[in-house]
Subunit: 372 residues, 2 copies
């Protein structure tokens, strides 16, 4: 369910192993429109569409959380394996239920407060019961830096979307980390090495991903422990990407989770013994998990649409990036670029993280996604 | 031109980089029927079919040598880039012109003698002018162990196909090696590390491929020198797979060449910074070559149809193989198995060649391609 770039990369591993895939996506030119055994155009959020689609499948999975979970639950009730399970999606689809779950399970996360509407939050700020500064997060619909805002003054709330939201304490963050864990129906788990993310300060988008993360080994231990405890608490089958804050005080706290392949682990295609996409397929299809260890360190650079450019996409500077050793190019096949839209990525694998970083930063200087 | 497993793996890298491919193959269920931007059913050896197909393309390449070269030459004359060039294919398509080329260029190869027909060869043996033993090779049509036979007695010639052939001196072979080299239109070259092949003694098929090869560094040097000199002499653009004999006397001699991605370098998908398929695309599309170095050592195991089994294919023991660390499965998507038919392969990547070898041999013990 979903035919974007995550689906496209999943299809690549499925095709390698000759696993037939049927994909549902509303866009005729979705990245998955090519390469699926069957491609159906349709809404991901419409009950009947998702139900009818799922009934054609042996096993159902998702590449995006914003789907009709009631339809998935019905498919599960009909005996069709659905991974991640609808119950897991219900918890994670909404940031309020997600945070409440962490608290209930004793999984370390930043203090927060839920509000039914933006107006309620504004009132609490005015009344002084909600201290400033904080991070506003929309309960639903957030992705790629949308649905999140740092609020330092009451004015900053103006213009934010209405609707249920939460206010999270602003942490003193040293690094943003992620651990991607795979879990089988029998509860076997495998964790990729801790990932470090570097954000584009303007777009609030991940610019670079580094693996392994350069943090104290105790931070690695805490990150693994938190990720595996979360996967167990959810009982998720398939991948769980756990985004983490590593604070200046040395705490490791859950930011948020996604029960699917994740941008932070795209580098595993080239750098790990088993890519996250193959690992997801292995987990949901009852195959043994593969080794999540690295062949070599890696850095990934997201290629996003240049601000100020919208329209048919073209790529500048690719040949310069590809001339550097260890660079692999992924273009998602999206016809149109828009500011900050994820259009592709470059993975750099090298014997040392330092060398991979140098090349990835060089590529970032030279590659631009612009309109024709 | 050609839609088999080599094409399927080429499509995977092309799709990753969003390069659109149009594939020609006679079989409706060819491995490339899925995943190509366009798939045309048609004969690879028919002049008009190949010409019409090529005229729809920006650049034309092949994944099999047995194609209509006259049509490719016409496309080249019309200004469409064709790589490998038709002139290269003409030399290599026929084993007699291929061996004559090596001799003319001073490229070390085993002594040989051409015959216009099997009858001529039989006559020469009877007359004593062709000493026994020797290796019979059909001038055309040989692949996957077909078109080659060791002849130790005159009787062994009985039942061999008619037609032009050559008799090659039987060498005292220590190892069979291969070097795959990529060459750009500007003459830039990049060699993968020397590959070592282990054959199934019964089927005369490659069973295992090891990289790096465990041979004296002088053998590596000779192998690289011979491969790059051959690529230069041919002026080939794209990949050239050079199969080599390493004799007990320490000589390195050309066995034969193929101007395309090659079974011996499938392991580069997982083990090298740049896969042979991406390297071929880079070379023929005017992109800079990628690094051919290894991330880690690798061993590849060909999965071929079990003798005595023909019909709809199924695979036994895959889960046991996949439970071992560093194993990657490739199934080519061929519906029917036949004895010794190439159905897929498993690549094992590990920190040491010894470890990869152990796992590959374990996989060979457990995986079987049989009929349903």
């Amino acid at each position: 369910v979903g035919g974007g770039q995550l689906g496209k990369m999943l299809l690549a591993d499925a095709r390698r192993m000759d696993i037939a895939c049927h994909v549902l996506d509303p866009a005729a030119d979705a990245p998955c429109a090519l390469g699926a055994h069957q491609f159906t155009r349709g809404s991901l959020t419409d009950y009947d569409t998702v139900l009818a689609f799922g009934r054609t499948c042996h096993t159902v999975t998702i590449e995006i959380e914003h789907v009709n979970v009631d339809a998935l639950a019905q498919l599960e009730a009909e005996g069709i394996p659905v991974f991640p399970q609808p119950a897991v999606l219900r918890v994670l689809q909404n940031k309020i239920t997600q945070k409440a779950f962490y608290d209930a399970q004793g999984l370390a996360t930043l203090p927060w407060q839920a509000y039914d509407s933006l107006a309620d939050l504004q009132q609490a700020v005015a009344a002084g019961s909600q201290p400033l500064p904080f991070v506003w997060k929309s309960a639903t619909g957030g992705y790629d830096g949308k649905g999140v805002a740092v609020v330092r003054t009451p004015d900053a709330l103006e213009g934010l979307p209405e609707g249920a939201c939460l206010a999270e304490q602003l942490a003193d963050i040293q690094r943003e980390l992620a651990v991607v864990v795979a879990r089988t129906p029998e509860g076997q788990m495998a964790c990729y090495p801790t990932i470090e993310m570097e954000f584009d300060p303007e777009a609030n988008l991940v610019r670079f991903v580094f693996c392994p993360a350069q943090v104290h080994f105790r931070a690695h231990e805490k990150a693994y422990a938190l990720a595996t405890r979360t996967a167990e608490a959810l009982g998720v089958v398939g991948l769980l990407a756990v985004e983490l804050f590593y604070t200046t005080r040395g705490e490791v706290l859950i930011n948020e989770c996604a029960p699917r392949p994740h941008n932070s682990a795209h580098f595993t295609i080239e750098a790990a013994y088993t890519s996250q996409f193959e690992q997801h397929l292995r987990a949901i299809l009852g195959l043994p998990l593969g080794s999540p260890a690295l062949k070599q360190p890696a850095v990934m650079l997201n290629l996003t649409g240049e601000p100020g450019h919208s329209g048919p996409a073209t790529y500048e500077g690719l040949a310069r990036a590809l001339a550097e050793p260890g660079t692999s190019l992924h273009l998602y096949g999206k016809a149109e670029t828009r500011p900050h839209r994820k259009m592709g990525h470059i993975t750099v694998v090298a014997p040392t993280r330092r060398q991979a970083t140098r090349i990835a930063r060089y590529a970032h200087e030279h590659v631009r996604v612009v309109d024709l």
